[in-house]
Symmetry: C2
Subunit: 258 residues, 2 copies
């Protein structure tokens, strides 16, 4: 055991590519414990929903989660992807447990109130069961969370996987130094969106203000960076953003610090 907890979120595109996932899980397996994996799986859910004849409704790029969508998400995130990742980790001698927020009441959320848009069965996280997750980590177990939370009204709710990862990291930072890792399509935050190799190695608050003023950061990254700084404010030590090579010792990535 190291003295740092690593929380790692992997995006849908990585998880659905068998070959890439296999390489990524090798890297994940090689990390020292304690560690936690968080995943979504939106593309696969959309594919299965389509095959089942369910329409996927999006408003402003966000999924509207009706009952059919939630059933598909529970099948795909909570079952298919989650259990296959756990099996692949066991194969790599990593003793893991696949969970959603209802398991051990680990991620408790509240259904998003209906304002201009009714997102349906979507939850905003209210509480992480830190003691339960901590207990598992102490036992040498690696928790693998799908992006589904549980509301006290007894419902399973679709929840943003980035938020699941950051809320878990924030909660655990009360126990140990915590590092939050986002694996996505890019190598990190880019100085030039057209140049994949223009990765900014480190961003602190001052640098962030500068970049914002110079309008260097592209719009898609803004909410992600906002989340990163929020996690840092709430106790997370480091946030790292990178592509699927993020977990390799010599990876190129962006490090976000206070």
């Amino acid at each position: 055991m190291t003295t740092t907890i690593k929380v790692i979120k992997i995006g849908g595109k990585l998880i659905e590519d068998e070959e890439k996932l296999s390489v990524f899980l090798d890297d994940f397996a090689a990390l020292e414990q304690p560690k936690i994996l968080v995943h979504g799986g939106g593309n696969k859910a959309t594919e299965i929903a389509g095959k089942l004849g369910y329409e996927t409704k999006m408003v402003e790029g966000r999924r509207i989660t009706d009952e059919n969508s939630m059933a598909v998400i529970t099948m795909v995130y909570g079952g298919l992807l989650n259990k296959n990742i756990v099996a692949k980790l066991q194969k790599r001698n990593i003793n893991s447990i696949g969970m959603c927020g209802a398991d051990g009441k680990s991620i408790v959320s509240k259904k998003r109130p209906v304002k201009e848009i009714n997102y349906g069965l979507v939850g905003d996280i209210e509480k992480i069961n830190t003691e339960f997750i901590w207990e598992l980590l102490q036992q040498g177990i690696v928790p693998v969370f799908s992006a589904i939370s549980y509301s006290e009204t007894g419902e399973l709710l679709n929840t943003n996987a980035d938020s699941v990862a950051s809320e878990i990291a924030v909660a655990l930072s009360s126990k140990m130094v915590t590092e939050l890792n986002y694996c996505f399509e890019k190598k990190g935050v880019l100085a030039n969106i057209a140049d994949d190799d223009s990765v900014i190695p480190e961003i602190d608050k001052n640098k962030y203000s500068e970049l914002l003023e110079q309008k260097i950061i592209n719009e898609g990254m803004l909410p992600k960076l906002h989340n990163c700084f929020q996690a840092l404010e709430k106790g997370v030590e480091i946030v790292r953003l990178g592509d699927m090579s993020l977990l390799k010792p010599d990876s190129v990535h962006t490090k976000i610090v206070k």
Copy 2:
């Protein structure tokens, strides 16, 4: 905590009827801990497979599990049904975790060898991770298992839910007095298959031999009863067979003893 572990297996027909399931889970929630729930979900899997355009192949009443079938089983048993049961139990203040055999390497199996029939991705249980399950029970957690096991080759395998329940019960009987409960469509073992009220209240080995000689037990019950006696031989104290009212204090059912 009582001094008896109750392992309860529920059949597919019960699990897929929202109203019946709700009543059953009320009864399950009312039982003293420690307790474990085991479920399958074959009908729902067949339904979803059909909608996805996958053919369900059966040979001699048994499902042939190809890759597509296994994906559906992982979605339906491991995700949809399992996570919804966990959410419903949390609503009833029962702190549960939904798992398959890969989680915590709790149910390790071996792929069934190909003889006359190739059953595909079907596993026969070799080992239960007793210490892991025992640890969860000690923490006051109720494990909910879907009928999926894990093979050391890294695969998820479809596994008979009755066997999952009995193997878990046998394993835990080394720790504490263990009671195995099978909830199915009938009120118990019937003396007359045409009369649902002809429940035989208790069957021991002698009575079993008698019933076999008199050819009173219908064919469908034979493998089930054989399993029950095997579980008793291996350490389980009592096996109870009944319908969805089995967990009610005054239920009519069949008790199987050594």
